[in-house]
């Protein structure tokens, strides 16, 4: 099995993530799209590190991608909860000014 099926799956994940980020008006929904896109990138790294060169740098990079995604989800959800305490809404159109 070549690299092509992996690339196609990762392309589908990426396009789905972009569509989720554009179509949703919910801040948590947009975070779901970001997780999908990060997974597509990590899948690309791992498949290229198997089929293109066989040192493990791509897998290490995918590990760092997972780590940064976890940190991003923690900080992003903290911001969402704080925003909900202030505005009573998680609609993206309510977030139009920096200072409450």
């Amino acid at each position: 099995m070549g690299i092509a099926p992996y690339i196609i799956v990762s392309s589908i994940l990426f396009v789905c993530g972009i569509v989720v980020m554009i179509a949703r008006k919910n801040i948590i929904g947009i975070l779901l799209g970001i997780e999908l896109i990060l997974n597509a990138a990590a899948l690309n790294f791992v498949s290229f590190t198997k089929f293109s060169n066989s040192n493990l740098d791509g897998q290490v990079f995918a590990l760092f991608i997972i780590l940064v995604a976890a940190a991003e989800a923690a900080v992003g959800l903290a911001i969402v909860i704080r925003f909900f305490q202030i505005r009573e809404s998680i609609h993206i159109d309510s977030a139009t000014q920096l200072q409450s």
Partner: protein, 181 residues
């Protein structure tokens, strides 16, 4: 044969999960479908000889990030608020999007598919010429992390500490700082 079976199952899980995340009308359901998608990606890692990465994906994403997302949804009311009024009294787009936002998403998806199809047009569908190495990759990843990538490893630990402390500070209760000071 076993590899192909695992690949087909995982690819189906990943793609179906991603599509259901895109078109689901309920945020909680979308989060559960994201869980299926992440399990599928972990299975794809298994077929790529990346067992450590598959385990990390399961532990960090499925055990951590998805549970965190579900908690945040429940703390912010989940998908119960459908009618949203803007500050000017106009009814704004519903939270999960309507046909206009999906139209814009479809336009973006068409553009992306055109670009990706153009890039990937001469992708070889044939079998790979890579020789299979049956060495366990966990040990090699550990050695690589602590020798070649030691600086990134340490910086990432500082990043995680900062992210956790920052998340705790950002999301603390609203009134506490004013009453204490």
């Amino acid at each position: 044969m076993l590899l192909t079976t695992i690949f087909c199952l995982s690819a189906f899980l990943a793609v179906a999960g991603a599509l259901l995340v895109t078109f689901s009308k309920n945020l909680i359901h979308a989060c559960v479908y994201l869980l299926f998608c992440l399990v599928g990606v972990a299975g794809l890692y298994l077929t790529l000889n990346a067992e450590f990465l598959a385990a990390t994906q399961l532990v960090v994403y499925v055990g951590g990030v998805v549970v965190l997302l579900l908690f945040a949804m429940m703390l912010t009311g989940g998908s119960s608020l459908n009618k949203v009024m803007s500050r000017f009294g106009l009814e704004s787009t519903p939270l999960m999007g309507n046909w206009r936002t999906y139209l814009m998403g479809g336009v973006a998806a068409a553009l992306l598919i055109a670009v990706l199809g153009n890039v990937l047009r001469n992708l070889s569908m044939g079998s790979s010429t890579v020789t299979e190495k049956s060495i366990s990759s966990v040990e090699q990843i550990g050695v690589k992390l602590l020798t070649d990538h030691i600086l990134a490893f340490e910086i990432s630990s500082v990043l995680l500490l900062g992210a956790l402390v920052g998340a705790a500070i950002i999301s603390r209760p609203f009134r506490s700082s004013e009453s204490e000071n």
